[in-house]
Symmetry: D3
Subunit: 233 residues, 6 copies
């Protein structure tokens, strides 16, 4: 099986980390192919960035089948282009946002998302609302550290523990989702600190992609109809 | 006052009709500037088209203030790029979809949308859901005539009356929204036939834009925060 | 165009301020006619007051068409008699509560209302719930200054800024509605202090009434059916 | 114990039937006092009628304690003046609409209301929505027989069975509420025909009033605060 | 009339208190029969306890009609076995949880439940959600005193007043339900302290059972269908 | 890895089919252990059956860890004992109902469940409601063939295609869940006939169990707290 992972930003900065995560999570015989954008923003921290990136995601999703892949993953918590990508390919297309939000429903009654910046809170809440999941995932809180500063592991680590504790004590969440594809390597420490399930969207989505291929499951062509031909300039 | 109208498709096909509508609806001293996309699809009939168009809408919204405009309208019922556009300009940005859906709440308890194609039904429902308005606007039905065939007025006219009657009798809607910026010139006939309010999103949105400028109202910068700088390739 | 404004209280106390607001907000050729109640309470600060006033609003709404008006406004945030008035006239009838709540949906994701007294909080929340808008307008907080003491501008001004800040910081609202027809002259100061859109219902509703007349839009006679004749004693 | 029953219409037409129902339902030592309106409409079949009646209900509710009563019932399915009445008396005030809707939740998952006229459907649905009960009571269907023609028992009887069967087969309701204080004497026949619980609001509310008095339960003064003094003309 | 009260725990510890409550609440001619479980847990403080108890409740509910009873009450706030019991008897079966939650809707807009332990909060919230009542009963807070330590009246009393005040001030609830069949003898003191209605589920449910019998009301056999025969080992 | 599968009925009738499904779905190195109930009903077709079975599921779930298992599956679409089982073991416990409902959210906007009997419709809807998923999974329709007659493949097959087509055309569902652990071997044919995703809960849940073990994910101990010790007779 071969899975195409689209990192929807125009930088190779995350490629190694994602490859590494995939290697640890997937079955030995599952191959991955990681593609970043040629054009578009280097990070997705606003509706603006997301909208600019989404259009560039689509040809990469569309081309996956021709490149011998059986599934596509959009590796960003805001799932840029997800619904559109499902319309234009017969392969399953998974977003790490939707996948982790949906899976989290099995772990707890009341779920919280930790995101990067204040700028992303409403953007994520709109997606949760559109999915009808707000009553189950009512809390989204930001770290307020830009994603491109995640190199400073110590700073991220201290802040994330503070936010998580606040979400447990004040917001009474019962499970946490790390709402950014770049929040890696922190899950174990966090789980221990707050004694709650902590979901890392990337590895989970990799494995769900394998399942969808194994079980030959895909998206509904009634929900995501194949577009009629339209000229594009 | 000057309003920029973005028709988010790469064709001039609708420009005259929109100009005509604007002339009839706006105050004599309100100027308009109509811009179509250079790049992008010629019609928006899928999530795919919408996503491809949305990225190209943004620079046009962003440039409106510099071009001396006081408000921006995105003239397509799916409001491509609406949230993103609000982040990157200080001007009010209105989408004809959101504007007409929100206004319709004042006319009836239970509202229906007539859209073009089956392909657009879920797309519109997702937006209504994300806005928390599904209980008030629960019905979306398609004409199933592609927007580029709207020249055949007779065909559109017959079909739209059939659909509208079905929505009244079977779905018990109490007001109708013409869910496509290209469904013009049909409202009076339809209103008479079904004896319900029929909302034509274009003219309504033009007048709401005037109001927002008059009252110096704009979108919340907490809901639509100004993006942090991100390099784009 | 002529608009009848019904101030649903039995005092002329607000007439000049409303006339003044109307003059500043309306088009030069829009005429207004302000009517107060002959009978009923001097202020609406409870369900009791509202219910007592509502019955007296209706003949004034019904008589508007005969008096040459094209629209009716009920100038009180609790919209006393709104649904009933729509049944008995062919003119559009707008309430400043409903109008501002609906319009606010275009400005922010999460909206708060500042009302006068603790006594009005549940009353307003019930109306928002009946409209299906609670998820978008979840916060209503009182000033706790009776409306008839609004002369003391300084006191109102200090209190309102405190409440607004609390709503931003604690309730995380992203736009504010001044939930009382008598909270005038404070909007600019407040908008500046909290850096959020602040909606003053009166001027907004005046302009929406003009729009409804211009576009020949009215309420659904399916939602607000014409009453059968019933003898009244 | 003494209960004041307010029939909120200006006719004595229903007094005997209500007295009869009360006699059959109440404990022997519970006294009732039936009062109709002096002023107001003879029937409540619209928001207009309801609003006109509601103001006249209030002094009757307020006076109940002074007349030695321990509870008040508003005997109309639209509960005119209910919230307001609760503000101005320390006695429990029950509406036959609210009481039966709430009680019905114990009998079935999905409940339907049979009302008199098309004109009342939205009016009742708005109340159910304001109470947050729409998901449990989603169906309201009219008989389309004006309440003052209920004398023709045969006609009502045939029509009500037809409507009830439609609600069971098509709307899949699992219990029925007779949504009009005047639909009496039909329950047994209907229950037998559809094999579902059928709730007759009047007798139920009489017994709930007894319970509230027995248990010294009353409405929350936080939900229904005592009004501040306001001059009324 | 004879009512069977099932105390769904395997201890007689509560029998006298329940008998006492029943004696004070019921009509003189209503007989009760109190039954505890032979097998099952001594207290219900978890989903585990509740699930273990529920199966043992059912034969007791089923046998009630044969024992000459006209109604059944399951005397535990989590209503173990309630839906199942309704399937297998023609008698009304009331749970003190459902009954008090539903009744509370008539007393206030926003209701809170005081439960025993942290362990029960989610369990109760799941039931409120399944009933579609979360918007009206959004708050559940624990005393954190195990039910078997309720003998220490002083400790319970102090703690319950603290929790109740917190729920009023911080959660802004407007009525309280004592969410445990064992929280008896505290209602008056609590009502006085917080000036809100406080609902004691036991006495209320006893009286509702009488009403259901008096009015010959029962549960819908569409909602709670009679099971097909299935062999049980 | 070893997974315990609990078939919560007191018959071995399904063991071979489940073993067969597991063999086809799981990784070669995943071992399974299938356990049926000693006591309890032979089928779960009512709340009564489910409640009777649930208590017997619990010791089997609790014993799984001691038997060297890493995960537990309750193989019945109504998930008997699921919440309780999660409280009493540190292993992940999956129900095929919850798992398939949650997963289906990724495949379509509007989902329908095909269940066995009319008797199960409300039972399943209550669970979907308690999970807050009704807006996404609004449709549940029965085959009306008792589960123990599933041997007649032809009859099941014809009926299921009819129901599925009805759900597509009339209910407009966009994906289907086979809502019974015994509806096996029909998925491919059905998917072809209706051109929608059809989810077979068993295989999906087996693979989700593997994922939970692989990723060391488990349920929240805040949502499913460990019970305090309670004596059980």
């Amino acid at each position: 099986m071969k899975i195409r992972i689209i990192i929807p930003v125009s930088t190779e900065k995350w490629t190694d980390a994602v490859a590494d995560t995939a290697k640890r999570s997937l079955r030995p015989d599952t191959e991955i192919e990681i593609i970043c954008l040629q054009h578009g923003p280097e990070a997705i921290q606003s509706e603006y960035n997301e909208t600019r990136a989404a259009g560039h995601v689509l040809p990469l999703a569309q081309g996956a089948e021709g490149a011998g892949c059986q599934a596509v993953i959009i590796w960003c918590f805001s799932d840029p282009g997800l619904a559109a990508a499902r319309e234009i390919t017969r392969l399953p297309v998974l977003g790490i946002g939707e996948t982790s939000q949906v899976f989290a429903l099995m772990t707890a009654d009341r779920i919280g998302v930790i995101t990067t910046l204040d700028h992303s809170v409403n953007r994520i809440k709109r997606k949760i609302a559109a999915r009808g999941l707000t009553t189950r995932i009512p809390v989204v809180r930001p770290l307020n550290i830009p994603v491109l500063e995640y190199d400073d592991d110590e700073k991220v680590s201290v802040r994330i523990l503070d936010i998580a504790r606040l979400m447990v004590e004040k917001d009474r969440v019962e499970a946490l989702i790390l709402g950014c594809g770049a929040l890696v390597g922190i899950r174990e420490k966090l789980e221990e600190a707050v004694a709650l399930p902590v979901i890392e969207p990337g590895p989970l989505t990799l494995k769900q992609a394998e399942i969808m291929v194994d079980l030959e499951l895909c998206h509904s062509k009634r929900s995501f109809m194949e577009p009629l031909p339209v000229i594009e300039h």
